[in-house]
């Protein structure tokens, strides 16, 4: 049977962001997937080499609109370590609060989008309505709904007033109540169970081999979370636990994310109640000494890695950003093969793709039937045949 190429994107009703899929399908089954993600490449890394630390932070926040705090914190944390700065405890707590609020808003956003992809628009509306409570808290604390601009080298730019802490704490019980409802819903709601169970399955070995990160990896039983393994900010002072799941499918990823939502509320509550007093910033030198660091950060979508090298001036020599979505593309493309065409949106949505992060750098592409490492097939390059034969029905 001849294979059919279904092009999707870059402008498509089902896509929120510019991306181009070329789905090669045999009937209803996906044979392989070619992804073209270069539509958003802007050249941020080059510009970051030409701006000083003060100007790089707003630029890095705008790598991505959803995980803006992640990029800025990963960079600030790395540069502070090179400079040998110890930021005050209150600043660490404020950064943690913003980071966890960001995780909540991102996961609620994801839950809504995933529900929308399976046609469950009621949950879409509910989760986005609850997300507004998180957005209000963020806006009160930082002054902006999306790009918070809280970080600077040496601490945070704004302190939290007692009134802000009080209103934020007052919003939490409602939110916790709603999140408990979502936890129950994910496990019992028939609409979601039917569409999520067994879809986009990935075993633990595959997740490790293809380098999945974040909730995608944790849903396959990979116990990997930078917040615990390489503690930064205040995570080693806070009681919390890493959520993992053994299902390995979209259902498992939903469970992990909803579980993390609950953990995030508890982290925010703990931080707000136990925030230490004191200054929120220390004076940072203008120039950073020569050095290099691999700054890792657990963004809502998974591990974010900034490789920073400084050269003694007030600019970076090189910054290399590896976004979590980029690490996850290899695995998602792999678990799409052999699935139904109709499941593409759910599986792609299940890794919570953030294309503006990813497209800053990368594209996956496949041509001529050869398996390319790290592409749709994802199969290792030296033995493309063995797996490919298995895909075709």
């Amino acid at each position: 049977m001849p294979e059919v190429v279904v092009p999707i994107g870059p402008h498509h009703p089902a896509l929120k962001e510019p991306v181009n899929f070329r789905v090669i399908a045999d009937g209803e089954k996906i044979v392989r997937l070619e992804l073209d993600l270069s539509y958003n490449h802007r050249g941020i890394e080059k510009a970051a080499e030409q701006r000083n630390f003060i100007r790089v932070l707003p630029l890095l926040e705008r790598v991505c609109g959803i995980c803006s705090h992640s990029h800025a914190t990963a960079f600030a944390k790395g540069v502070e370590e090179i400079m040998g700065l110890e930021i005050p405890p209150r600043a660490r707590y404020i950064r943690t609060i913003i980071a966890e609020l960001e995780r909540m808003h991102s996961h609620l956003l994801w839950l809504g989008v995933a529900a929308h992809e399976i046609g469950f628009n009621t949950l879409f509306m509910w989760s986005w309505r609850d997300r507004e409570a998180v957005q209000d808290t963020l806006e009160e604390m930082s002054g902006n709904r999306v790009h918070y601009g809280m970080n600077e080298i040496g601490g945070v730019r704004r302190d939290l007033t007692p009134a802000q802490i009080k209103t934020a704490l007052a919003r939490l019980p409602d939110l916790e109540d709603r999140i408990q409802k979502y936890v129950g819903m994910v496990n019992s709601e028939e609409t979601m169970l039917i569409r999520f169970r067994g879809v986009g399955k990935m075993s633990r070995e595959e997740a490790l081999k293809y380098g999945a990160v974040g909730p995608t990896a944790r849903a396959s039983g990979v116990d990997y979370d930078v917040r615990r393994d390489d503690p930064y900010l205040a995570y080693d002072e806070i009681p919390w636990k890493v959520i993992t799941d053994n299902h390995g499918d979209v259902y498992g990823r939903t469970r992990v994310r909803v579980g993390e939502l609950w953990e995030s509320t508890q982290i925010v509550r703990f931080c707000l109640e136990n925030i230490p007093a004191g200054p929120v910033r220390v004076e940072a030198p203008k120039n950073a000494p020569e050095g290099e660091i691999l700054s890792r950060y657990e963004a809502p979508r998974g591990e974010l890695a900034h490789y920073i090298r400084t050269n003694g001036t007030d600019k970076v020599e090189r910054i290399d950003i590896r976004s979590p979505t980029l690490a996850n593309w290899t695995s998602v493309a792999m678990c799409l093969t052999g699935q139904n065409l109709a499941d593409i949106p759910v599986i792609v949505a299940a890794i919570d793709p953030c294309l503006s992060c990813t497209c800053r750098m990368v594209v996956v592409h496949r041509r001529g039937g050869r398996a390319v490492p790290g592409t749709a097939a994802g199969e290792s390059g030296h033995d493309p045949k063995s797996r490919q034969d298995g895909w075709r029905p």
Partner: protein, 164 residues
Amino acid sequence: MTRPVNPETIAERVQEFGAVLQVRKNRIAVKTDPGRLHDAITTIQAVLGFDRLITISTVDRGGTFELLYHLIGPHRIIVSLAVDIPRTRPVMPTMSDLLPPAGIYERQIHDLFGIVFEGHPDLTRVVLNEDWPAGEYPMRKDWKPDPGHFYGGIKTEEELKCQK
């Protein structure tokens, strides 16, 4: 883990591949050379359980390009394998047969730095747009846009009219 793995034991094991440059709390940097990188990765994958590639970083250091392969294992210790390749002949054996995710990273490095990864099955244009002139690598330090070149975007009004 059955046997104790800590930065010191790992440093002992990997020093046969080159100088162990620095030991942070949980990060080891090893300076090796391109020919031995494949062996080094095979060894630390098999013996020390480094099962995951975090990323490949590239730094333009003037005369050379420095590639850093950051690997991590279940013991949560990072090994950064650094290699220098000359700018005059930027060729490097691919690691995508050992580490599938390396395929993506190598292709973007090829696009932005012009480093050729030998043995990579499909090393084509990935990040830059389709009109980008061949042989220009924007992340190199000495790259400057050439006023005579067309880098993409909207062409002139006349060309657009012709397309309609």
